[in-house]
């Protein structure tokens, strides 16, 4: 239910994914295929996601730059791309079912797939699951 006193250990932060400071996740399927979404922490901060504006397949995106936007009742947020590259596929379910972002942020709530242009070098700028958990803890203790 509510999250007034929710502990950060309650957030689902799957191992095996890479994470950004802006709370996106990236799943490397192959060197040509990376799936991108937002974390359960981001989904809960937004809450009530009502619209998702996806990028166009073919769009070039840059690491740390806005790739698309997500709208909740009260706010609009950018989704920052975890890698540079070209968008190859988008989640067609999201425009009609934006609630998937809240319900299944790591599964059916994915945003887009990209073909990275600088995978190995840019990986160094991202966090693994345990680093991201620590990062969330540092945010809560501020």
């Amino acid at each position: 239910m509510g999250s007034g006193e929710r502990s950060l250990t309650d957030y689902d932060i799957p191992d095996g994914l890479l994470y950004t400071k802006e709370h996106e996740w990236a799943k490397i399927i192959s060197e040509k295929e990376v799936v991108v979404g937002i974390t359960s922490y981001a989904a809960e901060q937004l809450h009530d996601v009502v619209f998702v504006e996806l990028p166009q397949p073919g769009n070039e995106v840059s690491q740390g730059k806005s790739a698309c936007t997500v709208e909740s009742v009260k706010s609009t947020s950018d989704v920052m791309s975890p890698f540079s590259g070209k968008v190859t596929k988008v989640n067609d379910e999201l425009p009609t079912h934006p609630e998937l972002v809240n319900k299944e942020p790591y599964n059916r709530g994915w945003f887009f797939v990209l073909e990275p242009s600088n995978l190995e070098r840019e990986k160094a700028n991202l966090m693994n699951a345990s680093e991201y958990r620590k990062y969330l803890q540092s945010l809560s203790s501020k």
Partner: protein, 370 residues
């Protein structure tokens, strides 16, 4: 350090909290959409104890308030709640408020949390030489809102109250003021329980939990400020500090029905002068193409910038973006279709009357299904 209301401990573990006008308040419990729809279809309960509660008493109370406020206080009978404006000499809105008339010599004013300090300053400035007492009773009372079509089942003892009427009752041995007022567009009640301080909040907490239980039993929910904001915007009710301010008059806000220029009050001359020559108006806009307007976005007619969004949200009832915007009268005379600049792109928006929802389906005027 943010302030809290006397009821904070009742919900702090259940609510997602947010800071609003210096108070740590529930933003939502289950979610803004669920809570908005609960109020539209059943009932919701809100802690609104952050709102300022000012007591005005003394022989000159009626005379004082009638000069201070745009509504005709002297015309209203005892037991009436009156919505109106406190304006400056230029006619701008210092605050919008509800005045509860207990007697000719005793009133309670419910004012916006963020404006309470400047309201008190303005009131004291204008109270010189009058037989009058102005007291802030915010920290010694609580205010709850029970809103929605089933609110009359939760407060079934008070169904005799007509809209914008109130009565004094008892909760145990304590005085409880119950009013048929609200900020959602729905039928609803606002309840004020006195003598509930931060040191002794127990009776307030008891009233809150009693009401939450009844609300839940009617299929209703506890609701936060997130739902309160979508509800008031769907109903076309302005929020001071956003849609109305000291720079906007009730004439520009299209709210002259709460202004009585036949009596003397501060700001009257400005309002009379403006009535036939209003340059801009506060209007409602419905957005198209999955676009959600947000405050401060610019509004265009063709290539001309003609105004600004003052409030914007996703409407859970309409399932699209809605907004209040202040637009040039000249542009409004030419067109009812505009464009809002949203993140570098133009999105179509059309003028819509208030309320945004169908008043036969939602709101206090809805057709009752029996």
């Amino acid at each position: 350090m943010a302030k809290i209301t006397q009821l904070y401990s009742a919900y702090k573990d259940r609510a997602k909290l947010t800071e609003f006008a210096g108070y740590l308040m529930p933003l939502y419990f289950r979610g803004i959409i669920d809570e908005t729809m609960a109020v539209r279809n059943a009932v919701g309960i809100f802690d609104v104890s952050h709102m300022g509660r000012l007591r005005v008493s003394g022989r000159d109370s009626s005379k004082f308030l009638n000069r201070l406020l745009t509504v005709n206080i002297e015309k209203g009978e005892n037991g009436k709640a009156m919505y109106g404006f406190m304006c400056n000499q230029q006619g701008g809105i210092i605050d919008d408020l509800i005045t509860y008339k207990l007697t000719d010599e005793l009133y309670i004013l419910v004012v916006n949390c963020a404006n309470k300090g400047k309201d008190l300053d303005w009131m004291n400035t204008n109270a010189n030489g009058m037989d009058l007492r102005i007291e802030d009773m915010t920290d010694e009372s609580i205010l709850l809102a029970v809103q929605g079509p089933k609110s009359s089942e939760v407060l079934d003892n008070f169904n005799y109250l007509k809209r914008f009427r109130f009565d004094l009752s008892k909760y145990g041995n304590d005085e409880l003021m119950v009013a048929r007022t609200g900020y959602t567009g729905e039928d609803g009640f606002e309840l004020m329980l006195h003598n509930v301080s931060h040191q002794n909040p127990e009776r307030g907490l008891k009233l809150y939990s009693d009401l939450v239980e009844k609300v839940n039993s009617k299929g209703g929910l506890e609701a936060g400020l997130g739902a309160r904001d979508t509800l008031r915007l769907e109903a076309g009710l302005p929020l001071h500090g956003q849609d109305i301010s000291e720079d906007i008059t009730p004439v520009e806000a299209g709210m002259t029905r709460f202004v009585d220029t036949s009596k003397e009050y501060i700001g009257r001359e400005a309002h009379i002068l403006q009535q036939d020559d209003v340059k801009r108006r506060l209007v409602g806009l419905v957005a198209y193409d999955n676009c959600i307007p947000r405050p401060h976005q610019k509004v265009y007619l063709g290539t001309n910038e003609v105004g600004m969004v003052t409030s914007g949200t996703f409407s859970p009832v309409l399932k699209r973006g809605i907004a209040m915007a202040i637009l040039q009268k000249e542009a409004l005379d030419q067109s009812n279709a505009f464009e809002i600049e949203v993140r570098g792109k133009r999105c179509k928006a059309e003028i819509h009357q208030f309320p945004f929802y169908d008043a036969e389906t939602y709101g206090f005027r809805r057709k009752k299904l029996d």
